[in-house]
């Protein structure tokens, strides 16, 4: 019997005779195993255990991904901050233009600049924040009543947001707002589906 266990491939359970040990004996499952050495002190082959995927442990009753309610506040905060940033930059530009045209200097110019920045920044932030509150509220309500969380919720929530936001501006403008919401949410869902098909991972619904 050879003592060199590292070089001997895994064989069946029958005892190898001296004649069979001299020539190599390969089984059909050898190609799926790795060529790492096997410890002679183990009474089982550890290579059988290396084929499992990592498993995650979830608390009982918990979802396996974040729902819409957990993501709603982050979405609203992100929209408000982005809107404030964009509005603030536009306010800086408008403030500089107006104060240069009126040839204002010193404290008056500083006050006018601050007024333009804060008015336009808060206006844009409130608009984007209100839109995101409507979108998140529609999404959470759809998730609650349908019991599902998928791309259909995203499209319906986007369309409902556009309809609701322009609901008091006449029927044509209301339909136009709904169409814009439908278009933006559909493009976003197509982007998610394309990412899902390319990376072959589980989708992350927003």
């Amino acid at each position: 019997m050879s003592d060199n266990f590292s070089r001997t491939p895994y064989s069946d359970g029958h005892a190898a005779t001296h004649e069979e040990a001299s020539k190599p004996h390969y089984t059909t499952t050898t190609s799926s195993f790795s060529r790492t050495p096997v410890s002679p002190y183990l009474n089982y082959d550890s290579r059988y255990l290396q084929q499992a995927q990592p498993e995650f442990i979830f608390p009982e009753g918990a979802n396996k991904q974040r729902g819409r309610f957990e993501l709603a506040f982050s979405q609203i905060g992100t929209s408000v901050m982005i809107g404030g940033g964009i509005g603030g930059l536009a306010g800086v530009y408008n403030g500089l233009k107006v104060t240069k045209a009126l040839e204002q200097k010193g404290k008056v110019r500083r006050t006018q600049l601050l007024n333009h920045i804060m008015k336009q920044g808060s206006g844009t932030a409130n608009t984007l924040g209100t839109l995101t509150v409507l979108y998140s509220a529609c999404g959470v309500l759809l998730q609650f009543f349908r019991g599902e969380d998928d791309h259909i919720n995203t499209v319906i929530a986007g369309s409902a947001t556009g309809l609701l936001y322009k609901s008091t501006a006449g029927l044509r403008t209301c339909a136009f707002g709904g169409a814009i919401g439908l278009g933006i949410s559909s493009l976003y869902c197509l982007y998610l589906i394309a990412q899902e098909n390319s990376s072959n991972s589980s989708p992350k619904y927003l």
Binding site: E70, F73, I76, V80, N126, T130
Partner: protein, 179 residues
């Protein structure tokens, strides 16, 4: 959705801003609906359209004010957590006072100080209520030593024995002079 936890500290600023905006927009929308309903001319159609117009006009502004407050408060709170390396009620109180002071900065020093006092007092009340609630609910989380648990078990066993056997009470009532 059943289990909601807060984000770690840099992302908490964005999430608190969003939560504050949602609270201000929806809650403020409800209040503005009531105020617009009451302030409208007589007639159900006029009142409903008045409420809707008030919500459209002012709920975004209320939400924006709440969002600014929430974002500033959370940013200062995260800064205090970073510098003090502690998380305790003093962080919230200092953050509330500083937020009140900062957001009133354009209206003068006296207004800054009074807003800072109001913010600090408000957060002190909130943290005080939290401390009282946790104090009263802490007894159910207290660990019990094995000796105390055994004593409680014996007391419960004796109580059950007294309840099960009514003959003991009967024996206690027997008077020797009546025999």
């Amino acid at each position: 959705m059943a289990e909601y936890g807060r984000e770690p500290c840099p992302f908490r600023i964005v999430e608190d801003c969003g939560g504050a905006f949602a609270m201000g927009a929806l809650g403020g929308g409800a209040f503005q609906a009531i105020k617009g309903f009451r302030n409208a001319p007589s007639g159900l159609g006029y009142r409903l359209s008045g409420g809707l117009a008030a919500v459209r006009a002012r709920s975004g502004l209320v939400g924006g004010n709440f969002a600014v407050w929430g974002a500033t408060f959370s940013a200062i709170d995260c800064s205090l957590v970073y510098f003090r390396k502690k998380e305790d009620p003093w962080n919230a109180i200092i953050s509330g006072a500083t937020t009140g002071g900062i957001l009133a900065a354009r209206t003068g020093l006296t207004s800054m100080l009074s807003s800072a006092l109001v913010g600090g007092a408000l957060l002190a009340l909130i943290e005080g209520v939290g401390i009282v609630v946790s104090h009263y609910s802490a007894d159910s989380y207290r660990q019990v030593s094995p000796v105390e648990r055994q004593q409680r078990y014996k007391q419960e066993l004796l109580r059950q024995q007294k309840g099960v056997s009514p003959l003991a009470a009967t024996y206690g009532e027997i008077d020797s002079s009546a025999l």
